[in-house]
């Protein structure tokens, strides 16, 4: 990425002017509340008892880490994230490959496939909650192919899987778009060259295409992982963490402790631990999968 090298204060001053609004906004709306939140997590603040909180150091964090609920939620969150990422990456990439072929009508498919991503999460949760009811449409349709009624969201064994299904419906398009974009950077003659060399479709994909789009896939993976670990909306709307706490993801646990239990300090510390987990996961992904720029022009 070339920058216009112009020594001198004027450029720097200008640059600051251009980023100042954003920086101020984030200083005010992010950094400051974040610090306040961090402080809150080090106190025993309770709702309705403002002003009488006391500094307790890391007591909240220790209590959280000792609680079964935290680890249970962590497991659920990680499992949910893993299932979703795997499914969405596979489906997104698969669909992108299909759409990359020169099929008539593919732009119609593409337009259609993007739609679920536009639907607000609240709506998505509501629709699917309706569809997956015990006597809902989906079970009705399943009865035609001799598959018995499935408990979906009303059984602790299947609720999480149902949430995965819902998230899949809504966010596969995100991976699909990124994968499509990635595939379009692959020059057409690459495929030609591979064909001329006698490579099969599978070999072409595995040896030629995939390495070229890998960096973009990693980014998609990263974005999905970060978002999934923090999932809140869809769980809140579709299952509220139940049944039997089987879908109690970490962010929802933090929400519950904060707003229902009224333990502001304790609840906020769960949220911070979640943030920590997300950062760890991001670092892990970057390290393990490697985040290389396709065209490395960093000065």
């Amino acid at each position: 990425m070339a920058a216009i090298s112009r020594a001198g204060n004027r450029q720097v001053w200008l640059a600051y002017l251009m980023v100042a609004p954003i920086v101020l906004l984030f200083a005010g709306l992010l950094i400051w509340p974040w610090l306040v939140g961090a402080w809150t997590s080090l106190t025993d603040m309770r709702i309705g008892r403002w002003g009488s909180e006391q500094f307790v150091g890391l007591q909240n964090y220790i209590a959280v880490l000792k609680s079964g609920a935290f680890w249970s939620s962590l497991r659920i969150t990680a499992f949910f994230g893993f299932l979703c990422v795997t499914a969405e990456m596979s489906l997104g990439l698969g669909l992108a490959l299909l759409l990359n072929r020169s099929l008539p009508g593919r732009s119609l498919f593409r337009a259609l496939f993007i739609v679920p991503f536009m639907v607000p999460t609240v709506v998505c949760g509501l629709i699917w909650r309706q569809l997956l009811e015990a006597k809902g449409v989906v079970n009705y349709l399943l009865s035609f192919i001799e598959l018995g009624p499935f408990p979906w969201l009303s059984s602790s064994g299947t609720a999480l899987g149902s949430l995965v299904l819902i998230d899949l419906w809504q966010t596969t398009p995100q991976v699909l778009i990124l994968a499509l974009a990635a595939l379009q950077t692959v020059p057409k003659d690459t495929y030609e060259a591979a064909r001329v060399d006698g490579a099969s479709a599978w070999q072409t994909f595995w040896r030629v295409t995939l390495p070229m789009i890998a960096p973009y896939l990693v980014i998609a993976f990263l974005i999905r992982a970060i978002e999934l670990l923090q999932v809140l909306d869809i769980v809140m709307v579709a299952s509220q963490g139940g049944p039997a706490n089987s879908t109690m993801v970490l962010h929802l646990l933090a929400y519950r402790e904060t707003f229902i239990g009224g333990f502001l300090g304790y609840g906020t510390s769960i949220a911070y631990l979640l943030g920590f987990v997300v950062v760890l996961a991001a670092i892990a992904v970057i390290r393990l999968l490697g985040l290389t720029q396709p065209k490395d022009e960093r000065p």
Partner: protein, 460 residues
């Protein structure tokens, strides 16, 4: 139930009433607000702001603010929001020195036990004893069921039951529980309406097996509601309870294990509805009206929906009663009231609205004309208009069961604590696990332990 269909009817009724110059009839022998010996207009020009959760109670308030405004010159802004949002907003607003709202919809102990002890909600005594604000004779607090008033009172001391201290609100609406059954089902299998849980088990089995599983033998609330709409009520009748005087959980007791096993393992799992784990009260109410259950147990005022022929398949074909054990038929008393924000500079004006809304003539009118149930005043239950309208339900069995609740069976079932929300969540999760096959004693033991450690964390 104020659905859009009843809204249409109401609008038409109001329109025609206005056209013929008649105000909606209040009972002729109940003294209207003009008879009260206070100056209703002493706060003329004030604007009050009310916030409530999405509920017929909030909607009902909207119906009377016009008349109230005409009487007092006070403008009232009524807002309803979703319950999730409501809990957050209340918490945040009640602790703010510059409050946005003067009145809130107090939903039972969930509200009062959280905000009463911290002094965020004004106690009604300060208004009741001020002759400029209240005409005690006209208002007649003795007419309000003392048990429901007790439910709204708590002195804030951990371990003390409800009924101590003084009240935070005057409940204008209460909710207790009844058992309901489709008469045809009972007749078909030659069953009596069950009065104990053991009888329920036998009846449910008969119906379920007789109908080949197409009709659930028995239904009660699932989701988190299983705690407050089913378990606590049955526990009361079988010698159990939620917490003891030291705020320790009683859920691991033998009585508790018996009730959980009976309800979840012997009744609901084999003979109950599909998808029970996620069935909250809106679902139960809708499915009951569609005839999916043979016998069910839930709130008394749901009958408004069941008996509405426009949307219920079972209207006019039901029978009602009280359910419990051989010894007793206790049921929890949930209530709704108007809580006044203690930091509001318009507290006194707010009391006028609370007083108006819970007064005899207004409560009677709302009960008879707008189907706002359940009223809390004995005079309303005894008014001829009320008996005429509701005496038809279940061939009189509904009214009978309601009066039995009022005079004998309904009482506050939960021990007051600000941790109600979390306790219910822990308890419900345990109930779900039992329903899905976990060992009763082990699960309840864990539930009790979790509740105890929660209470410890909360400072009890």
């Amino acid at each position: 139930m104020i659905t859009k269909w009843s809204r249409r009817l109401f609008t038409m009724a109001m329109a025609s009433a206005c056209l013929t110059g008649l105000a909606p009839a209040t009972a002729q022998d109940v003294a209207g607000p003009e008879a009260a010996n206070i100056d209703w207009r002493q706060f003329e020009g004030t604007t009050l702001r009310f916030l409530g959760g999405q509920h017929p109670a909030s909607a009902a308030l909207m119906l009377v603010v016009g008349d109230f405004g005409a009487l007092t010159g006070i403008k009232v802004e009524v807002k309803q929001i979703s319950w999730n949002a409501y809990f957050q907003k209340v918490q945040l607003d009640l602790s703010s020195p510059d409050p946005q709202y003067d009145l809130f919809l107090a939903n039972g102990g969930d509200f009062d036990w959280l905000y009463g002890p911290t002094g965020s909600v004004a106690k009604i005594d300060e208004f009741l004893n001020d002759p400029k604000l209240t005409d005690k004779a006209w208002y007649d607090l003795a007419d309000v069921d003392p048990k429901v008033l007790a439910a709204a009172s708590w002195d804030g001391v951990a371990g003390h039951q409800a009924g101590t201290g003084s009240a935070h609100v005057v409940p204008f609406m209460s909710e207790s529980y009844m058992v309901t059954a489709q008469q045809e089902m009972l007749d078909k299998y030659k069953l009596k309406l069950p009065t104990t849980l053991e009888e329920v088990r036998d009846a449910a089995k008969t119906i379920y097996e007789g109908e080949g599983g197409k009709v659930a033998g028995f239904a009660a609330r699932g989701g988190v509601g299983v705690v407050n709409a089913a378990l606590i009520n049955f526990l009361l009748n079988y010698g159990g309870g939620d917490l003891d005087a030291d705020m320790n959980s009683r859920l691991a007791s033998t009585e508790s294990a018996y009730v959980h096993d009976l309800l979840l393992n012997q009744i609901l799992r084999p003979y109950g509805p599909q998808g029970w784990l996620a069935m909250e009260w809106t679902d139960l109410r809708a499915r009951a009206a569609q005839g999916e259950f043979g016998i069910w147990y839930d709130a008394d005022w749901f009958a408004v929906g069941y008996e509405d022929a426009a949307q219920s398949k079972v209207a006019g074909k039901l029978v009602y009663g009280n359910l419990g054990s051989a010894d007793s038929k206790f049921a929890d008393y949930y209530y709704f009231g108007l809580a006044i924000n203690d930091k509001s500079p318009r507290k006194d004006a707010a009391w006028l609205l609370a007083q108006y809304f819970s007064s005899k003539p207004v409560m009677l009118r709302l009960a008879v004309e707008n189907q706002l149930l359940m009223p809390t005043r004995a005079s309303v239950y005894n008014a001829p208009a009320f008996a005429e309208k509701y005496g038809k339900w279940g061939n009189g069995t509904w009214l009978e069961a309601a009066k039995a609740n009022l005079s004998q069976w309904s009482k506050p079932a939960f021990t007051p604590t600000d941790q109600q929300g979390s306790i219910k969540n822990i308890w419900a999760a345990g109930a779900h696990q039992i329903y899905e096959g976990a060992d009763v004693n082990q699960t309840l033991g864990q539930v009790a332990a979790d509740i105890d450690s929660l209470m410890e964390r909360a400072g009890y």
